[in-house]
C-alpha cells in the first residue's frame, strides 16, 4: 500500500547526512571496548568460579581440619557444599548451552535473554534456599562444639545477610525479565 505523504517523510530522511553530525574517537573507543569486554566476561566467569571454589574449599576444609570430622553435622555440611558446587557447574553448562540455542533475530535474542534471566532467577532462588540448611548445619556444628554466643551471633548475622542479599538479587533479575517480556510482547503485538 503506497502512501504519497509517507514518500515525503522518506525524502526528508534521505536528505540527511548522518556522518556530518558526529565524529568518532576511534583510538579511545578501541581502548574502552577492549577493556569493557575483558571486564564483562571476566566478572561472570570469576563469580561462577568463586562460588564453585568456595563451596569445594569449604567442604574440604571442614572435613580435613574440623576438630570433630566424624560429627554428623560436619559430614552433612560437607556433602551439602559438594552438591552446591555441582549444581553451580550444572547451571553454568546450561547457560553456555542457551547461548547457542536461539535464532539470530531480534525475537531470538529477546527469547535467549529471557531464558537466561530465568536461569539466573532459578539459581538465585536455589542458592537462597541452600543458605537455610547450610546455616542450620553450621549452627548445629558450632553448638556441638559449645562455641561462644558471639560466634553464634556472627554466624547468624552472615547467613541473614546472605539471605537478604539473595532476595535483592532475585528481585533485580525478576524486574529485568519483566522488561524483556514486555519488549517481546511489543514485538509480537499485532496492533
Amino acid at each position: 500500500m503506497s502512501h504519497p505523504e509517507f514518500e515525503e517523510i522518506q525524502q526528508i530522511w534521505d536528505t540527511q547526512d548522518p556522518d556530518a553530525g558526529y565524529e568518532v574517537q576511534i583510538p579511545e573507543l578501541t581502548q574502552k571496548i577492549q577493556k569493557k569486554a575483558r571486564f564483562a566476561s571476566n566478572i561472570l566467569i570469576f563469580s561462577e568460579l568463586v562460588l564453585i571454589f568456595a563451596n569445594l574449599l569449604g567442604a574440604c576444609t571442614i572435613l580435613l581440619y574440623s576438630s570433630a570430622p566424624d560429627s554428623g553435622y560436619i559430614i552433612a555440611l560437607a556433602i551439602l557444599m559438594f552438591i552446591g558446587a555441582a549444581y553451580i557447574v550444572f547451571e553454568k553448562i546450561k547457560r553456555i548451552y542457551l547461548e547457542k540455542r536461539f535464532p539470530k533475530s531480534l525475537l531470538g535474542s529477546l527469547e535467549q535473554a529471557i531464558a537466561q534471566m530465568q536461569v539466573q532467577i532459578r539459581l538465585t532462588q536455589v542458592m537462597r534456599w541452600y543458605i537455610l540448611p547450610l546455616g542450620l548445619l553450621t549452627i548445629l556444628a558450632a553448638w556441638n562444639k559449645q562455641t561462644s554466643s558471639w560466634v553464634f551471633l556472627c554466624i547468624l548475622f552472615f547467613f541473614i545477610l546472605g539471605w537478604r542479599g539473595g532476595a535483592w538479587e532475585k528481585r533485580l533479575y525478576v524486574r529485568k525479565k519483566k522488561e524483556l517480556l514486555s519488549l517481546k510482547a511489543q514485538l509480537l503485538r499485532e496492533r
Partner: protein, 157 residues
C-alpha cells in the same frame, strides 16, 4: 566502524536524546558488535548484521540514572567517544527524530529499518516475526507519522 557509523548515529539519535546517553549507548553497541564478530559468518550482509546487533542492544539499553552527566560540557574536561560536529540545523530532520524517539522501542526499530530501505522480508527475518505481521506494524507506523506531519505545520510537509 568508519563504513557504518552513519547507520549507528541514526540509531543513537532515535534511542537516546542527550549527548551522554548517546555516548553510553554507542559504547554498548560497539562492545556488542566487537563481541559478535566471531559469530558473524557472512551469511547476512554486514549492514543487516550491524543493524541486528545494534537494534538488539538499543532495545535492551536503559539510561543509567546514576551516571547521568548531561549537565557537564566538553569544556569541563569530559571525554566523549562521539563528538557532535557543528552543522546547520535541519528542522525537518529534527522533527522526524523527535517523533521517532516518542515511539516504543520496537516501533523505533521498525521505523528505522523502513526508512533505511529494508523490505518486508528482510525486516521479518531480522526481527523474527512474519512478513504479514511486519506489514501490519509498518502500516500503523506510517499512518502515525503521516498524522503527526499533518499536525506539525512548521515541519514544512
Amino acid at each position: 566502524m568508519e563504513d557504518y557509523k552513519g547507520l549507528l548515529f541514526k540509531i543513537l539519535r532515535s534511542f537516546a536524546q542527550n549527548t551522554f546517553d548517546q555516548d553510553d549507548l554507542f559504547q554498548e553497541i560497539s562492545l556488542q558488535l566487537w563481541r559478535s564478530i566471531p559469530q558473524f559468518k557472512g551469511e547476512a550482509l554486514a549492514k543487516t548484521w550491524i543493524y541486528r546487533v545494534a537494534l538488539n542492544t538499543a532495545i535492551k539499553w536503559k539510561r543509567d540514572e546514576g551516571k547521568h552527566r548531561s549537565s557537564l560540557t566538553h569544556s569541563e574536561g569530559l571525554e566523549y567517544l562521539i563528538q557532535k560536529k557543528q552543522s546547520p540545523p535541519n528542522p525537518r530532520i529534527a522533527w522526524l527524530y523527535e517523533e521517532i524517539a516518542q515511539m516504543n522501542k520496537i516501533d523505533i526499530s521498525l521505523c528505522l529499518l523502513l526508512l533505511d530501505g529494508f523490505n518486508y522480508a528482510e525486516m521479518a527475518q531480522l526481527l523474527g516475526i512474519s512478513e504479514s505481521h511486519v506489514g501490519v506494524k509498518i502500516h500503523r507506523i506510517k499512518q502515525h507519522l503521516i498524522q503527526k506531519s499533518k499536525a506539525h505545520v512548521s515541519s514544512g510537509i
